[in-house]
């Protein structure tokens, strides 16, 4: 949709902060209303990520408890990842039963977080009241379109489905809230407390592996199964309707397929947390780590993934660390480790004024993955988490359990019989695009994936308990000098923790959650980050004109990545100017006219 040789009239539009997400994300765009296209986009964060600064000098055993506080919704992913990194540093592995307990807790977290984000936050962008305000003719069509899976979810038309998404009053919205309580209970049974676990430590867990704890989990899981079996076809119906009713909608939020997944759910029979064996135990994970480029899986090797990580600056408020200390020159296999790798990073914050025109404009750095064959620094995204996880797992074809099977082109998910529905098989097929709707669709399927894997882990764990195993903890001594790295999947995508221990204390610690990857600004090569890339060139389908523009297509795109900006700490800003102008696509009646910004 580029318009060459013609003067374009660009209108600046800003959404800062973006609502219904966590943290301070600002999206600054230039829109060509005549040609209905977003021409330029910049994503900014006014949060400073300071964990790497204040972790230095602390007892490494505290790392899991401290880094959990990075996030108020996926803190346990950080604890788990930190434990993986610490286990490597201490040279230990969790007992089998402990590993299943961690896997069950993490599965509950995926079910909880994806379901609440999809049904209570994402679906507000697709609900009847929102569509009525942004695309009235689409709603009219939805009223006349029968829902293909009405016999499963019970909503006759697509408009009925959209009405069930209405916040606070819609049936799906309210049911999802109840389900979030159930899944949190499941989580707490395994990890003690949501969202900062109290029973997860390096070397194992403090959860007492009694038969009761597993059966309590199981009864809740089966109740949740009924919800999953209705939710997945519901998602398919809505997203298929958008493709059909708005031809060209596949271009919304579309970017080159450049997905990263760092793997989840360790296989306790294979994992030993030794760096030397990381390739093998990485591939044995029940969500296969991998990098998908243009639809091809270019690696599933965690060692290669680890060594390719580069943290670039370019538009971020930091000084470079080129002159600082190198902590790890070679990995335990003897491979050279780059200066821009998290193991060798030193965070040097440099607060400054935001400059969106060619200067620095974000506290987020620009993590990239260096592809050795081409020499490119790839701005990988996570597809909101599930898209990358399912894509990588499907292509690798390594996961083969009674409940989840990767076929090489799809992922088959079997869900056991539950109260209202018989045994059900779902199949997530690799989509043609990495776009807004596919990121959202994958989220629903990954809830089913996590539920099915939980059935598998439960059976294996109960089997061990019934044989009389009670071991959930492995003792260890903290070494004076060690390094470690942990790879996991936070709910919204890749998560890594890199740790260096000296004198028994933390000498360097760098957590890299998904949002720095997704929300990164332009790097030192000028490559835009994934949010920016996905929004630039985005066609506008909203029927509103410039005067009452809500930016719904942009918001759907940004939210499809499941943005989560609190991976840092608030910085004291002294007497800084308080920004009061904002523009958020709130529901009309709640949004006073003064709240809108129309430059």
């Amino acid at each position: 949709m580029s318009v060459a040789g013609e003067e374009r009239k660009l209108v600046e539009m800003a959404w800062d902060p973006v609502t219904r997400i966590i943290g301070n994300l600002g999206i600054y765009t230039k829109i060509d209303f005549k040609n209905r296209e977003v021409v330029e986009c910049r994503s900014t964060s006014s949060l400073f990520r300071g964990y790497s600064v204040f972790m230095k000098g602390k007892d490494p055993r505290d790392a899991g408890f401290i880094t959990s506080r990075i996030c108020g919704i996926c803190g346990d992913n950080h604890t788990t990842c930190s434990i993986y990194a610490q286990n490597m540093a201490y040279g230990i592995k969790n007992p089998v039963l402990a590993e299943y307990i961690v896997n069950l807790g993490e599965a509950a977290e995926y079910m909880f977080d994806h379901a609440i984000f999809q049904d209570n936050l994402v679906f507000v962008d697709f609900c009847e009241r929102m569509v009525k305000e942004t695309n009235p003719s689409l709603l009219e069509k939805a009223e006349r379109t029968p829902a293909p899976h009405a016999h499963i979810h019970g909503f006759r038309t697509i408009a009925d489905l959209m009405r069930s998404f209405n916040p606070f009053v819609g049936e799906t919205y309210r049911e999802a809230l109840q389900m979030s309580r159930l899944t949190r209970e499941m989580f707490c049974l395994m990890e003690g407390r949501h969202v900062h676990p109290s029973t997860l430590y390096p070397g194992g867990v403090g959860t007492v592996a009694s038969p009761q704890v597993f059966t309590d989990y199981q009864s809740r899981l089966l109740e949740f199964m009924d919800f999953v079996k209705r939710m997945v076809p519901m998602n398919d119906d809505v997203f298929d309707f958008f493709y059909e009713a708005l031809p060209g909608y596949e271009e919304v939020g579309r970017r080159r397929v450049m997905l990263g997944c760092w793997g989840a759910f360790q296989d306790p029979d294979v994992v030993d947390y030794r760096y030397e064996h990381m390739t093998d135990w990485g591939r044995a994970m029940y969500v296969t780590p991998g990098i998908v480029l243009d639809g091809e899986l270019i690696t599933t090797d965690l060692v290669e993934i680890n060594l390719g990580m580069r943290i670039l600056l370019g538009s971020s408020y930091y000084d470079d660390w080129e002159e600082e200390e190198m902590f790890v020159e070679r990995d335990p296999l003897g491979n050279p480790v780059h200066r821009r790798h998290p193991w060798n990073q030193t965070t040097l914050p440099r607060p400054q004024k935001r400059d969106l025109e060619g200067g620095n404009y974000s506290w987020v750095m620009s993590p990239r993955w260096y592809q050795q064959q081409t020499g490119d620094h790839l701005a990988l995204d996570t597809g909101g988490g599930p898209l990358a996880r399912l894509w990588s797992t499907a292509l690798a074809g390594l996961v083969d359990t009674p409940w989840v099977t990767a076929t090489g082109h799809s992922v088959k998910i079997r869900l056991p019989r539950s109260r209202r529905f018989p045994e059900t098989e779902l199949e997530w097929k690799i989509p043609r695009w990495a776009n807004t709707l596919e990121r959202d669709r994958a989220r629903a399927y990954f809830v089913a994936y996590a539920a099915a894997m939980a059935v598998h882990f439960l059976a294996r764990a109960l089997d061990r308990v019934q044989q009389g195993d009670v071991k959930v903890f492995q003792e260890f001594a903290v070494p004076d000098e060690a390094i470690g790295c942990g790879f996991h999947e936070a709910v919204r995508g890749v998560l890594s923790h890199h740790l260096v221990i000296r004198d028994g204390k933390i000498a360097n610690y760098h957590p890299y959650p998904p949002t720095p990857w997704n929300a990164s600004p332009r790097d030192s090569f000028g490559t835009p980050g994934p949010y920016e890339d996905a929004c630039q060139g985005l066609p506008i389908f909203e029927e509103n004109g410039e005067a009452d523009f809500k930016g719904i297509d942009i918001m759907r795109t940004v939210r499809s990545f499941d943005p989560c900006l609190p991976c840092g700490v608030h910085m004291y800003s002294g007497k800084a100017k308080i920004l009061e102008r904002r523009h958020s696509p709130m529901l009309g009646s709640f949004s006073p006219p003064g709240d809108r910004r129309h430059p």
């Binding site: 007892d59 007992p95 009694s210 040097l348 195993d469 003792e475 000296r502 004198d503």
Partner: protein, 76 residues
Amino acid sequence: MKKTTSPLTVGKPDVRPSLPSHVPGVREGNQPGSLKRSDGIVDHGTHAVATGRRSTGLNAREREPIDPRMPKLTPP
């Protein structure tokens, strides 16, 4: 550890982050030998089993399963 300089203006610290979080003499839960000292757990390396002592401190030896082949389940 090399100390890095930061351009951030910060207040006077009220803690010393380099203070040891462990007081010498106090037993650490993670230290080798902890499992052996845990009452009612017999460690076998890759797995561990419970004894009646895990459920009660009173006449624990009288509270073992009737049949030694039975699993000694952890109390809820």
